[in-house]
């Protein structure tokens, strides 16, 4: 990618915003039976896979049954967390009036309590996308994922922390709002986080009880195999969701922003930041479903409450609009995008002087000033 960010005038940004609003309105006006049937079908498939997977694990004395059981349960959890849970909790199906699809009522099959997720993700991450210091999805308080985060020796472990975060991603997400690093530094008092911890405990203990105690216990002599199967399925889900989510905002070419430059954004500027701060993945239809359509991260960040299965349809219009305004539309296959994320995580483990990365000026909009694929970043918003 050798795109540069165009310097749009406020007038251009306003037109750009209006065009996106129009795309959004067209999609909203078209919502109907198709969307409800789609998500219900997905839920049927997911629950079916879950029951099948758990059934197969009970027959794990036959090794292929164990493998098939882990596969089915992994896919079930991936669908539950991504295409169903994440999207429903965005309120994408609130218009249906079905309480089972209500963004405020849905609970998902992972350790993180849904209400905390709605705060940290729907509000904090989606409003303040890629703003260093505000968007805690930037490195999850553990990793150095942007040159804007100043290096210290702790970050020598960056690749190791990333591997651990991938393996235990559901716990990383569950403890996301706890701001562990700020608790450690004393910026936040434990007392402030008591209710949050109680919520995590309530949700996580039910998850642990189900996957690691009850289902193994019901399997009698096969308990160790069922336990191993459930642990494996959770890890498969963790690694997959980590991979997809890290490809959404951290591949090369994606920009970070500072609090100052985003202080008084117009709607057009907000759209502009969402676009520059997100990256898509290309792939088959099945791949998009397995990615919860977060492979259309750009469309998702522009329109977080439009049913995600429509992002693919909207993408053509969005990329055409970007081309018209000369705005880079960051997309690529999983291998390439994730590869650039891995490279970034390793590179940022080392001090900037060793990797030749000049420290980005904090007032500079575009962050990685000398990133190889971004020779000349321009200020985003006036």
């Amino acid at each position: 990618m050798t795109d540069t960010v165009p310097d749009l005038t406020p007038e251009q940004l306003e037109i750009f915003g209006c065009e996106l609003d129009a795309i959004r309105q067209r999609a909203l006006d078209d919502l109907g039976d198709r969307d409800l049937e789609y998500i219900r079908r997905l839920i049927r498939i997911q629950r079916g896979l879950e029951v099948t997977g758990r059934g197969l694990l009970f027959a794990s004395v036959i090794p292929p049954a164990w493998v098939a059981g882990v596969a089915a349960l992994s896919v079930s959890k991936i669908l539950d967390n991504m295409e169903i849970g994440h999207n429903v909790m965005h309120g994408q199906y609130d218009w249906t009036g079905d309480p089972a699809l209500s963004g405020h009522g849905f609970e998902w099959d992972t350790a993180c309590p849904s209400d905390q997720w709605r705060h940290s993700h729907n509000y904090m991450h989606h409003t303040h996308t890629n703003i260093v210091g505000k968007d805690r999805d930037l490195g999850y308080g553990i990793l150095r994922i942007s040159e804007e985060q100043s290096w210290n020796p702790y970050y020598l472990g960056n690749p190791l922390y990333a591997v651990l975060l991938a393996l235990f991603f559901e716990w990383g997400v569950a403890f996301h709002d706890l701001e562990v690093e700020r608790l450690g530094s004393g910026d936040v008092a434990w007392a402030e986080k008591r209710d949050l911890l109680a919520g995590i405990w309530r949700k996580a203990s039910r998850q642990v009880l189900k996957d690691y105690v009850l289902f193994p216990a019901l399997a009698g002599p096969q308990a160790p195999l069922v336990l191993a199967g459930n642990v494996s399925a959770n890890i498969v889900r963790n690694v997959w969701t980590f991979t997809i989510i890290f490809c959404g905002h951290f591949p090369s070419g994606v920009l970070e922003f500072s609090e100052e430059e985003t202080a008084d954004e117009t709607r057009g500027e907000w759209y502009f930041r969402q676009l520059l701060g997100s990256a898509n993945l290309t792939g088959s239809k099945l791949f998009h479903v397995m990615a919860g359509n977060l492979s259309h991260q750009i469309e998702h960040h522009l329109f977080p409450d439009i049913p995600a299965h429509r992002y693919g349809e909207i993408a053509a219009e969005v990329s055409e609009l970007c081309a018209r305004f000369g705005i880079p539309y960051n997309t690529g296959p999983l291998g390439r995008q994730f590869g650039s994320v891995v490279k970034k995580i390793c590179r940022l483990a080392l001090p900037d002087r060793l990797t030749g990365v000049a420290r980005a000026r904090s007032a500079d909009v575009a962050g990685p000033a000398s990133a190889p694929d971004r020779p000349d970043p321009l200020p985003v918003a006036g």
Binding site: D35, L36, I43, T96, K203, L214
Partner: protein, 373 residues
């Protein structure tokens, strides 16, 4: 099949499904979210019904027969049920009065409704209602019912689609072997618009204590309500003079448009006339004035008062408040008024008590109003 598994009795299957172990295994979604995949009407907690039959009793009308799941507690003749249908992917709730007997032996009940040209739900049900459809239900509600100790003589008067609750009362009384006299009087525009016409004619023949009369408001010798349309229900017949007949009008149950209800109330003893209106009142009564603004506190939206009902104004402002009947009977839309005065369209009363629960579908602002929406 599901009546066996989820029968109201404490069957083993039911007890197992409700156990804490199963709930823990089905976390976080809950047992219902798996049961409904096997059969949509199955639910441990949600009151639902499956449509088992659909027919069109008269042009423009449709009758749905519903088999509710085990959570259904039945209804009293004359009550209404808030039903939720899925139309275009979106749930829509409406209140309808069952027309069947409260004692129907198979536990099912039937709804008859007329497709209004602008009625989204009624038109959908008329055109696309089909067996197998799943309908969400609320428990039956409403005070338009016969007293537990049935009056001896009863007049049942209806207009248009208001026939359903009084039809239910008539069928219920017949099932109970009611011995007193029952006068059934129905107003319709034309004969072809009367659902249940044949069944009513048969009842009139078979049951000597029941009289059935139809009056067609658009026919040459028809017209609107007049006490003379009712047979003499005095005891013994003919014992009262014309003058005293009015005061001896029996217990009367009337359901239909406001004009019919007013006419019947004027003709009889108000104590003995029980009524339910079936026309959206917001449209027939004039709105309040249009001064001030309506603010929706939770959404942070403020809009100038248009004079429409608070529910309509909330919807116009892009909010989606819960609602049902839109005529002030089901209380689904009840919400907290934080400040201001409003006028209740049903009673005409203006209330200035700031902090109170109000039915927004039948309330118009009298000046500025703040709602907890």
């Amino acid at each position: 099949m599901y009546t066996e598994v989820l029968a109201p009795s404490k069957s083993l299957g039911h007890r197992v499904l409700r156990s804490r172990l199963i709930e823990a295994l089905a976390a976080p979604h809950g047992v219902d979210r798996y049961l409904e995949l096997v059969r949509p009407a199955w639910s441990l907690r949600d009151l639902r019904a499956e449509v088992t039959a659909v027919h069109h009793p008269a042009p423009g009308s449709v009758t749905l027969t519903l088999r509710p799941n085990h959570l259904w507690q039945g209804f009293e003749a004359g009550q209404f049920v808030r039903c939720t249908f899925e139309i275009g992917g979106c749930r829509r709730a409406r209140c309808y009065s069952p027309a069947s007997s409260a004692h129907r032996s198979d536990g099912q009940f039937e709804l008859t409704l007329r497709a209004h040209p602008e009625g989204l739900v009624s038109r959908f049900l008329h055109d696309h209602g089909a067996p197998g459809m799943i309908v969400g239900l609320d428990p039956a509600a409403g005070d338009f019912v016969l007293p537990a100790e049935r009056p001896e003589h009863i007049a049942l008067i209806s207009g248009g689609s208001g026939i359903t609750p009084v039809m239910s009362m008539l069928r219920t009384l017949l099932d109970e072997g009611h011995r007193g006299r029952v006068a059934f009087l129905h107003y319709a525009r034309t004969p072809d618009r009367v659902p249940y016409a044949r069944e009513l004619a048969q009842i009139a023949v078979k049951a000597p204590n029941v009289s059935v009369d139809f009056v067609y408001t658009r026919a040459a010798r028809g017209g609107h309500f007049h006490p003379h349309h009712l047979p003499d229900l005095t005891d013994p017949p003919g014992s009262a003079s014309q003058a005293t007949r009015r005061s001896r009008l029996p217990e009367t149950y009337v359901c239909g448009p406001p004009g019919l209800i007013d006419a019947v109330c004027d003709a009889g003893d108000p104590e003995r006339v029980h009524n339910e209106s079936f026309v959206p009142l917001a449209r027939t009564l004039d709105g309040g004035d249009t001064a001030g603004a309506v603010s929706f506190a939770r959404s942070g939206v403020v809009a100038p008062n248009t004079g429409a009902t608070l529910l309509e104004q909330a919807e116009a402002a892009g909010l989606k408040p819960a609602h049902g009947c839109r005529m002030g009977i089901c209380h689904t839309c009840t919400c907290r008024k934080l400040a201001g005065e409003h006028r209740n369209l049903l009673t005409g009363e203006v209330s200035c008590a700031g902090d109170e629960d109000i039915q927004i579908c039948v309330s118009v602002p009298a000046g500025s109003v703040a709602l907890d929406l």
